[in-house]
């Protein structure tokens, strides 16, 4: 076995890339003959029992139904258990499971932040304290934070700036409910049984530029006052984004848990472009690489990390990377490192596995400070929203409003 591995490594010693003469790819991990115990799983997903998958699919369908009710059906007065926020509550519930079960400490930390962001910024604030954030352009009326996707709003511009500096991961990795729902609810579909890999799966990534073109049209439409054309187009755009969004959840058993992000997400494409032109990339250090191919196996976006790094002089700079950091934390030889704006003031910084894992070490005061800072920031956002709500309404209404929002008869007490 060992000889075999060395021979394969030598074969790939001179990496070649792409159409010129593709190198043989690292072999697929042999399918495990029995379910891998979840406790042993780090980043390479284990296989899950049918009922776990069924539960996940049910949760996906429920989230879809919630959105349908919010947009079309209007049944039961849109309580929390059946509206657009239902998805975020499901994320929170499954998030608790994922966070406790996750064995990769860096991923666990990322999931905590991701789920926390979704719970506070995407659910609690707009749902309990709705207000409209400052905007330019003509698409108004959206409550705070979901307008992250709306060109012309303050959040949108801030996010674009942050993506330029730190990469697509600031939104896709750490603050995106679309990723969150797929990462926590869709986790059972992360296994190689479900995720399509290989040349074709990689080439299909260009599909998303169709959606990106549609999004450019929507950006233009949002700079215009509403008329039949722009309103009709925005309605059409919403449908071609939202329907695939939910349908791909239900297709997870066949396209994996990142089917949507890889192929159909127009926002991901936008952020991806900034990812490429911006200051983020993954550096590949060929001198220490042992060419185990693990980085390519753990990448949910299907990026051929090693192949790209080897072919492009050590730079993995792609629109696809959403910065989950699994390739880096799984790299046994610390040959992959993140690179972003922090390298400008601090050129000697090396964001490798040890660096990332240090951030999860609770014994370090810096880690604890960061965690406290994050909790404080979210609390401040929540408190600020609550305060703002008192300015435009009365907080005294909140208990009865929460009752109504949850679909409970508290308001009649």
């Amino acid at each position: 076995m060992a000889n075999e591995a060395i021979r394969r490594a030598e074969e790939r010693f001179v990496p070649r890339f792409g159409r010129r003469d593709p190198p043989p790819r690292p072999a697929m991990a042999a399918r495990a003959q029995r379910l891998m115990p979840v406790a042993q799983q780090r980043s390479l997903a284990g296989r899950y029992a049918w009922w776990v998958k069924a539960l996940s699919l049910t949760a996906f369908a429920w989230a879809f139904l919630g959105w349908l009710n919010d947009a079309w059906l209007f049944q039961f007065d849109n309580p929390l258990w059946l509206n657009r926020y239902t998805e975020y509550v499901i994320i929170l519930a499954f998030g608790v499971w994922r966070i406790t079960a996750e064995k990769n400490p860096y991923t666990r930390r990322r999931l905590m932040i991701l789920v926390g962001n979704v719970a506070v910024l995407w659910w609690l604030i707009p749902w309990a304290f709705p207000f409209i954030e400052p905007h330019i352009g003509y698409l108004a009326g959206l409550p705070a934070f979901p307008s992250l996707h709306t060109p012309g709003t303050l959040t949108f511009l801030l996010v674009l700036g942050a993506v330029f500096l730190f990469g697509r991961r600031v939104i896709c990795g750490w603050n995106c409910p679309c990723v969150a729902v797929r990462e926590v609810v869709g986790f059972p579909f992360r296994h190689a049984d479900h995720v399509p890999r290989g040349q074709w799966a990689w080439r299909l990534r260009h599909l998303k530029w169709i959606w990106f073109a549609l999004y450019l049209g929507a950006m233009w439409a949002m700079t215009r006052p509403s008329n039949n054309l722009t309103a009709g187009y925005l309605g059409f755009f919403a449908m071609v984004v939202v329907l695939p969004y939910f349908v791909t959840m239900l297709l997870s058993p066949w396209i994996g848990n990142r089917g949507y992000c890889r192929y159909l997400c127009p926002y991901g494409a936008t952020f991806g472009l900034l990812n490429k032109v911006g200051m983020f990339r993954i550096d590949y250090h060929a001198e220490s690489c042992i060419q185990c191919g693990k980085c390519e196996k753990v990448c949910d976006m299907g990026i051929p990390v090693w192949e790209m790094g080897a072919a492009h002089g050590g730079k993995v700079d792609t629109t696809e990377c959403m910065g989950c950091g699994r390739c880096i934390t799984e790299c046994p030889s610390q040959s992959l490192t993140f690179r972003d704006v922090r390298h400008l003031p601090w050129p000697t910084l090396r964001q490798d596995r040890d660096h990332l894992l240090r951030r999860t070490d609770w014994k370090l005061p810096s880690t604890r400070w960061r965690a406290a800072g994050f909790a404080l920031a979210l609390s401040a956002a929540l408190g600020g929203a609550a305060y703002y709500a008192t300015q435009v309404g009365t907080l005294g209404e909140l208990p009865s409003r929460l009752g109504a929002l949850c679909g409970l008869p508290i308001s009649s007490w």
């Binding site: 919010d70 947009a71 209007f74 007065d77 849109n78 509206n83 657009r84 707009p126 749902w127 709705p130 207000f131 409209i132 905007h135 352009g137 003509y138 698409l139 108004a140 009326g141 959206l142 409550p143 006052p225 509403s226 008329n227 039949n228 054309l229 309103a231 435009v392 309404g393 009365t394 209404e397 929002l405």
Partner: protein, 441 residues
């Protein structure tokens, strides 16, 4: 058609050019611009787009009070009106050239932008309204010229639409010229020239409500020069609620979108709008009144849309069975709708564009149009303005319409599409007006 009629039609449709005005080849604007030419009257309703200065009248450049000397004789009424206005009483007075320019060969009509040079805050509020989409004052003119039936019908016929929809392009819809009195615009009657009639009986609804009855009893005695603020008025008028504190942006509380489509009143966006309503109502009422009111309104809407959706499903099933006649192939199409030419389809309901389909359709579709556009909106307007009885009355009309449509559908099905044997084509495609409509956009 008798020769006398031909002569009359020829005489009427010859456009007089003696005063300059719009050239005959002036082109339309908006989505269907290529398909229609404006009526000469259009320049008065959308002066920013269509106004052409007089070319054959007086020449010269006039400053200060010079205009008044002639116009006191030519159009004495408007000069008297201006003299009574605040524009004439401030120092220095706002004279004619401020809005119309001083060259009599290049006179302009003031647009909201003209008024905005001195009233920028109001203009900004009007502009801000565009962010809220339809229904809207600020987008009313775009709405009308982009409507399919506007582009399709003869422009002299739809000139009637422009009078109200010009609220987007002129300020004197509410502050009538040349007095421009805010006190006038504060009173409900100022709104009712447009906010009346079958699809939006706001006049009937308001005057039937407790608010409106109180206004009718006492309103004439109040001091209307006071701004629309808490404590200044004993009962709200249209503007008190919809233009609170004189905010010229009337869309930021629009939840039910005029009642023409079904919406979800409990989205976060609508929660924000309702919060604004709660504040408005709280000027006079205890805080629990408004939520109770919304609950009743939402319930009424749910009932109304239950009825409408039932009929919509019924009509769509008839359409599916080919029983709706004249079918889309047997009726005059919209000239600009290439989709409809490729895939002719009877339009049923808001999302298929039935708002424009009220003339080139069969009786069943028209009945549903009236049920949706007249009865449903009457029920909504009544409920939303606190005239529950009126709403009930319109609900009864909806019930009656639903019943008669159901009976008609059953009759159709039992006859299996059998007809009177009359030739459909000339009847539906060849009448005098139908032909004229086809030739004149």
């Amino acid at each position: 058609m008798r020769p006398a009629h031909l002569l009359l039609v020829a005489a009427l449709f010859w456009t007089p050019t003696a005063w300059g005005g719009l050239p005959e080849n002036a082109s339309g604007v908006g989505e269907h611009a290529a398909h229609w030419q404006p009526d000469p009257l259009h320049e008065y309703w959308d002066p920013g787009t269509y106004h052409r200065p007089e070319s054959e009248a007086v020449e010269g450049v006039f400053q200060g009070e010079a205009c008044l000397e002639c116009h006191a004789g030519v159009t004495p009424g408007l000069v008297k009106d201006w003299r009574a206005s605040r524009h004439a009483q401030v120092e220095p007075p706002v004279l004619c050239p401020a809005c119309h320019g001083d060259d009599h060969q290049k006179l302009t009509f003031p647009t909201p932008q003209t008024c905005g040079t001195c009233h920028p805050q109001r203009l900004a509020q009007v502009e801000e309204e565009k962010q809220y989409g339809f229904p809207s004052h600020a987008l009313a003119m775009e709405r009308v010229v982009d409507a399919k039936h506007f582009a399709d019908k003869p422009k002299a016929e739809v000139a009637s639409c422009l009078q109200c929809h010009s609220v987007a392009t002129k300020c004197d819809s509410c502050h009538t010229r040349h007095r421009f009195d805010p006190a006038e615009a504060r009173r409900p009657e100022a709104c009712l020239t447009c906010h009346s009639g079958p699809p939006h009986p706001d006049d009937e609804a308001y005057f039937a409500s407790a608010h409106g009855r109180k206004y009718q009893k006492e309103g004439a005695l109040w001091d209307w020069s006071k701004p629309l603020r808490k404590g200044n008025y004993a009962t709200p008028t249209c503007a008190y609620c919809h233009m609170k504190d004189g905010n010229h942006q009337v869309a930021d509380k629009a939840v039910w979108k005029f009642g023409i489509r079904e919406i979800n009143p409990t989205t976060a966006e609508n929660e924000i709008k309702r919060k604004r309503w709660r504040e408005t109502c709280a000027d006079c009422h205890p805080p629990e009144v408004a939520p109770e009111f919304f609950r009743a309104l939402d319930q009424e809407r749910a009932t109304a849309w239950g009825k409408l959706n039932t009929v919509e499903r019924l009509l769509k099933s008839l359409r599916g069975d080919g029983l709706l006649r004249p079918s889309a192939r047997e009726r005059p199409p919209y000239p600009m709708d290439w989709m409809a030419r490729l895939f002719p389809r009877e339009r049923i309901g808001f999302f298929e564009g039935q708002a424009s389909a009220f003339y080139n359709v069969g009786a069943l579709e028209r009945d549903y149009f009236e049920m949706w556009y007249f009865d449903n909106l009457g029920a909504y307007k009544g409920m939303a303005h606190g005239a529950g009885e009126m709403s009930q009355r319109f609900h009864q009309r909806m019930d009656a319409a639903a019943q008669s449509l159901g009976a008609a559908a059953e009759r159709l099905r039992s006859k299996g599409g059998e007809t009177s044997g009359i030739d459909w084509k000339p009847l539906w495609l060849e009448g005098e007006y139908t032909r004229f409509n086809r030739d004149h956009n």
